[in-house]
């Protein structure tokens, strides 16, 4: 018994999130899902994080283009296909501008060196901004479906934790300590903390702390708005309108990562809606790899020996791939498992995306 197939997900969900480890074809899969939605008449937008250059060009996201605003891609479909490349910093800037009480406050924050570093470098910021962008586009009446490609982070789950992580950061007791003197309270208690700060300053230089304090002063009063927003984003990505598409390749290590990832999603009560496995080797024979190998060995270096050795190689890789996948397929049940074969060339244009679509939606 399997759940809704990929075509139904594309038809019914309002958000699809593609996740998986690096190099498995997440970006391509996300673009294909959005394209499929356009094919069935929906208005879809795909948010990509770091597309390979030629795919970016195909999606109208060439490097000269302005990031962060969706661009429409023309094509032979009744619906609409839009694409946007995530610009972490300007997404964060917009968020600050929206939540500050007055333009002055926003300007103070946007100019602060510490903020500039955070908006580019705080771990999890890119993940959070991807979710923020998703929230924004979801709320936009121009789109029926938002497809997001998650960042290739060290921990593929960072994006789930990202909203809370940022608010935790803003809420850290150390900043309370740093902030306290300027609020004119608990000065005595802070003598020890100040001594600590002085020691740290010796290591990294005092300007760092001055910038940090200025940032938190400017940020004062905005934490609540940020926190509420983070909770809303989290609610949205865990709602039934959202479908998680796990993208993997049949290699052992990526399957292991996908399994780990599925466990983590399950802990957060999020089911995998579909599993897409790219780059499957073809299945040429029912014969067992060991038998073929043995046959090849009796034939030595002859041409026939080489032919059998080759067939044995592919029989082995195919059986290993199925072995690796069977556990994962069971784990994501009832999610459908869609296998995409090794393609001749990399996907870098709309025709290529359509070809992957034929495999994903069983038209090939």
């Amino acid at each position: 018994m399997t759940g809704p197939d990929l075509a139904s997900l594309v038809r019914d969900r309002t958000i699809m999130i593609c996740s998986g480890s690096g190099g498995v074809g997440k970006t391509t899969t996300a673009a294909v899902l959005a394209m499929e939605a356009a094919r069935i008449g929906r208005r879809a937008v795909v948010v990509t994080i770091d597309p390979a250059k030629r795919l970016a060009d195909a999606l109208g996201l060439g490097h000269d283009g302005i990031g962060n605003l969706p661009k429409q891609i023309d094509g032979p479909w009744p619906g609409e296909l839009w694409a946007v490349m995530l610009d972490t910093k300007s997404t964060f800037d917009d968020l600050v501008t929206n939540y500050s009480d007055e333009p002055d406050q926003a300007a103070r924050i946007l100019d602060n060196r510490f903020y500039k570093n955070i908006s580019g470098a705080l771990s999890g910021t890119q993940e959070y901004m991807a979710m923020e962008k998703l929230y924004d586009l979801h709320a936009d009446e121009l789109f029926d479906l938002v497809v997001v490609d998650t960042p290739p982070s060290r921990n593929a789950l960072d994006f789930l934790d990202a909203p809370r992580r940022l608010t935790r950061f803003l809420d850290h007791r150390l900043y309370r300590v740093l902030m306290a003197p300027t609020r004119g309270m608990m000065r005595a208690v802070n003598v020890a903390a100040q001594a600590f700060v002085r020691s740290v300053s010796k290591v990294v230089g005092g300007e760092v702390f001055d910038d940090a304090i200025a940032f938190f002063q400017a940020f004062d009063g905005m934490e609540q708005g940020f926190k509420e927003r983070a909770e809303m984003v989290l609610d949205l990505i865990t709602s039934p309108a959202t479908g998680f598409v796990l993208v993997a390749s049949p290699k052992r290590d990526t399957v292991e990562e996908a399994r780990y990832f599925t466990d983590k999603l399950a802990e957060a009560d999020i089911p995998v809606a579909a599993l897409v496995v790219n780059r499957m080797h073809p299945h040429f024979t029912e014969a067992l790899p060991e038998a073929l190998r043995a046959r090849a060995d009796t034939l030595g270096d002859s041409d026939l020996g080489g032919l059998y050795r080759n067939l044995a190689d592919f029989a082995l890789v195919a059986s290993r791939e199925e072995e690796h996948l069977s556990g994962l397929a069971e784990q994501v049940e009832p999610a459908p498992v869609v296998r995409v074969p090794f393609l001749r060339t990399d996907v870098h244009d709309l025709t290529g995306l359509a070809l992957v679509g034929d495999h994903l939606f069983a038209r090939a």
Partner: protein, 329 residues
């Protein structure tokens, strides 16, 4: 060229590449190949999760150094050791050595490191690289192989030194950054070995990374490793029925079609791989080391030895020009 000469080119080799290209496999292979030639080798990892230990048939390791492969004097093989460096541990150790042990633990437990590393991007990286630099100076090992963070992270990781040398003008972090810059800029001490697959996107990204590393980090690039190349086999162009006749053997019904389809697939993949390897050679004037695709995905000690031997054979086939580290123009 002589592998001994090859491995003596620099004491630190940083293995870098996009996720999924087999960076860790190449790290493990390079370390074992060097050890087979008698160089005591230390593998340094900076990201916890990886299958490196299991490739050597060993349990996972962390900050404390472990032995992945014992030395075998009769076979002329030196030991392969390994450890994982984390910024937190590196910082505590560094502060303790700098006479600041009083604040070191607190800096980590209070979360101050989090804030400091946010305020000063690259500080985590410099702590790790600073530790690597110390290991390199200690000369406790003939070769250190650093499994760098994946993809774009590798550039920011290696760029942290120049960024920090400017951002933090005084104090211990500045000293660390300067020392690391010196290390990265000295081809006799350090080079980067880039890893890719013989496929379009990974090749494009490798070329881009190579130029960025040259321009922004100023580090020397060693040979490029092209991982996952299909080894050639006899008979791939031969009709199975003819091949069977030539061997005086017969095929089961349907077997000729299976053999043909599989042979065609391999030929086609090999041609596509060849195209990408040539394109890489054209775009990047660096010597190439190709490693075979392993059809058996169970990567344990026997497969690793196979890869290490293949690596050594490739090194022997390199021209003498590969002795000095090369610079992309």
């Amino acid at each position: 060229m002589d592998p001994a000469q090859f491995f003596a080119a620099s004491r630190l080799v940083i293995v870098a590449g996009k996720g999924g290209v087999g960076k860790t496999t190449v790290t493990a292979t390079l370390a074992l190949a060097a050890a087979k030639r008698g160089l005591s080798t230390l593998v340094v990892q900076v990201e916890g999760k990886s299958g490196l230990a299991s490739m050597y048939g060993q349990p996972a390791f962390s900050y404390d150094q472990v032995t992945l492969a014992e030395a075998d004097e009769t076979a002329g093989q030196a030991a392969v050791k390994a450890r994982t460096l984390t910024p937190d541990d590196a910082l505590v150790e560094y502060l303790e050595q700098s006479g600041m042990s009083r604040i070191s633990r607190r800096l980590v437990t209070s979360g101050a490191l989090d804030m400091v590393s946010t305020a000063v991007p690259g500080i985590r990286d410099i702590l790790v690289l600073g530790k690597v630099k110390q290991l390199e100076r200690d000369r406790a090992n003939d070769l250190i192989v650093l499994d760098a963070p994946a993809a774009g992270h590798a550039i920011s990781f290696l760029q942290s030194a120049s960024g920090l040398a400017d951002a933090v003008r005084l104090g211990p972090i500045n000293n660390q950054a300067r020392d690391v810059l010196e290390l990265l800029g000295d081809p006799a001490r350090c080079q980067v070995m880039l890893v890719t697959l013989p496929e379009e996107t990974p090749v494009n990204e490798l070329v881009e990374t190579a130029y960025q590393l040259e321009d922004r980090v100023g580090v020397s690039l060693g040979p490029v490793v092209v991982n996952g190349c299909y080894p050639d086999l006899p008979g791939l162009h031969v009709d199975p029925n003819e091949a069977a006749a030539a061997s005086g053997s017969s095929l089961r019904p349907g077997e000729a079609e299976e053999l043909t389809a599989a042979a065609e697939f391999r030929r086609e993949r090999m041609a596509l791989q060849r195209e990408q390897i040539d394109r890489l050679a054209e775009a990047l004037p660096l010597p190439q080391i190709t490693l075979p695709y392993l059809f058996d995905s169970e990567l344990g000690p026997p497969q690793l030895h196979h890869l290490a031997d293949a690596f050594l054979a490739e090194v022997k086939a390199l021209g003498p020009a590969a002795a000095s580290t090369m610079k992309a123009p």
